[in-house]
Symmetry: C2
Amino acid sequence: MTTLGEKATRQHTRDVNLRLVLRLIYELGAVSRADLARLTNLTRTTVSDVVGELIERGLVIETGLATGGGIGRTPMLLSVAEWSRPVAAISVNADSVEGALVSLRGNVGRRISRSIQGQTGADALNTLQETLDELIQTANQPLLGIGVTTPGLINASSGMIVRAVGLEWADLPLGQLLHERYGLPVKVVNDSQCLALAEHLFGEWRGVANLVVLKIGKGVGAGIVLNGQLYAGEGFGAGEIGHLAFTANGLLCKCGNRGCLETVLGSDALLHQARTAIAANPNSILAAYASDLSLGRIAEGAAMGDPVAQHVITTAAAATGAAVATIISLLSVRHVLITGRITAFGETFAELVRREVAQRALPALVRDTEIRLAPAPTITPLIGAAAPVLTGELGLIRLHRREEHVDA
Amino acid sequence: MTTLGEKATRQHTRDVNLRLVLRLIYELGAVSRADLARLTNLTRTTVSDVVGELIERGLVIETGLATGGGIGRTPMLLSVAEWSRPVAAISVNADSVEGALVSLRGNVGRRISRSIQGQTGADALNTLQETLDELIQTANQPLLGIGVTTPGLINASSGMIVRAVGLEWADLPLGQLLHERYGLPVKVVNDSQCLALAEHLFGEWRGVANLVVLKIGKGVGAGIVLNGQLYAGEGFGAGEIGHLAFTANGLLCKCGNRGCLETVLGSDALLHQARTAIAANPNSILAAYASDLSLGRIAEGAAMGDPVAQHVITTAAAATGAAVATIISLLSVRHVLITGRITAFGETFAELVRREVAQRALPALVRDTEIRLAPAPTITPLIGAAAPVLTGELGLIRLHRREEHVDA
């Protein structure tokens, strides 16, 4: 008699084997069934069964006979069918909805983009769905699933957006809506959290077990990877420091509180600070760009010695340093990556941040910590959006992206 | 032929069984070998072997025959020999070294205490060792090990105190020193981290998988339990927020930086603030206690409506609220316990802290979070000191302490 427990155990063993074999095929690029049996210590029959299922599911293909020789039959090589089951990845930021198909190896195919400038609530949701419609139409293969990343507090297990302040979404069951509309597995995850996951899987620090990605764009947030896993916290809001109060009696924030870090360090706040300073110092080099100001222009101005521009960058570095010092003191991580629009301020800014951190946290903690700026611009948000689908649907702990860029 | 891998696997299986059986005996209080076999699905022979080893190691005793009846032999009941292998637990705080033997069930036996007021460096270390000498002499049974908890940045895997600012210890290999002196297993762990572990194992929130204990005494620090495990971070400094800068251009701290949270919120800082305010307001009720001021006196003064006392408490609540808001925003935990001398400020203070947190973090995160004051005074630091030894040496994930207090 087979008990329910035994059945569950057998199904679990099968899943474990499936993931083990798939991961090996990923990592080795091209491999025979015999090699897989040798490497996994599974029987040939089990390997053949598992490979059969992977081929049936379209995840693995036979790519040809092994060259080179030996006695006996030349074995058939197996590879991951990189584009056989792409992920429809959507990254929502303050200005636009970005979409792309992402391969099983985390490569980004054709990209599309729609503006959501000035849109919030239902309008922004409509644009998201239109972008997804268009993206899904371009797919030539069945999709593995849909991955969406947006700012805000998101219950990643249910796909519910609890609160996205900038987009004015509250208690929006986005995962459920998209699942009903497209009939595919859907993952909705906070943008900073996705960036940290993408960094851990594919970035310069890939494989580093503990890291924090601090995103400073229109919004501010951190994504945290601990012990090789995305840490979202019990309330799924780990890293939601954009709405942590930073200054007493500060500006009113959209979240309802005052002086949130976003009201000081968000890109709109920085531009506002610069415009105010230009108005008071019309001789500033930046005055010429008053109508077309950007963080890049401020960086250029600072490099030319403009005190207004330098002051904006110094102030931003102080606030960034305070945030990084907090992250290091509370989490004791040794890798902090700063990403988002603020990276336009460049290495001068990064150095100011490092100095600020040294004055704001225990020296013994700071001395072992690396603080870097992410190279911009980047496709990382789209890879980040796909990552939870890839890891969730395939059970892959680490995806190894090939270096070349492959178009769908 | 037995390979090394097989041998390791067999040893691992034996350890797993040992811990499983020991944990069941703990939890059930008194249990027979037959019951253990039934509950674990292990063979009777395996259970007998494992129980034999536990008895030989003095961890388990046969406590008598089961009463009540049935057919056949009456089974022998097994119990944990609670005081058979006590832990020598030492808790170092700013004023004293506290010591006690702690039972396998986390009960605290006879306590001893030595003052280290005014002592730092080698003097404080000497007092620690004298306390330990005296404690170990009182033990009638072989010890399971030594557990030490002190403030500071501690590498818990090597027992190295990297930096304990108040005690002026730096790169002190305390674990190694004590191991060489006493020939016992030694665990040295940060005090706030131990408090969080003790809270998770034995406290009111025992079993809660994610919690933070914020200790505010002479020093300030947090201990973090995530997913049921103490989270110390890559640099072992997780929760070291006492030396996180809190005010710009604040007071010089012993750590070398300025405006650290400890210089605002540590008990010495609070007393200093009160004394300064009393000097400026000689009509304050507190003026009568100027030479014998304590946080308890300040609480009494506030309850009697004294504005000086109320101001000190309000200021402390603002800083505490900022720290708690940071913890919630970064970690998204739902249980925060405040402990240490500041609990003398009582429930009025706690309510002010909750209000401050609500204004300083995203409402959607705050609404699900419980913030409590720990009941003081407490033996928790000593249980905390013993906890890493108990979990490390016995592999117990959760220790169930009986409610009664047992003396050694």
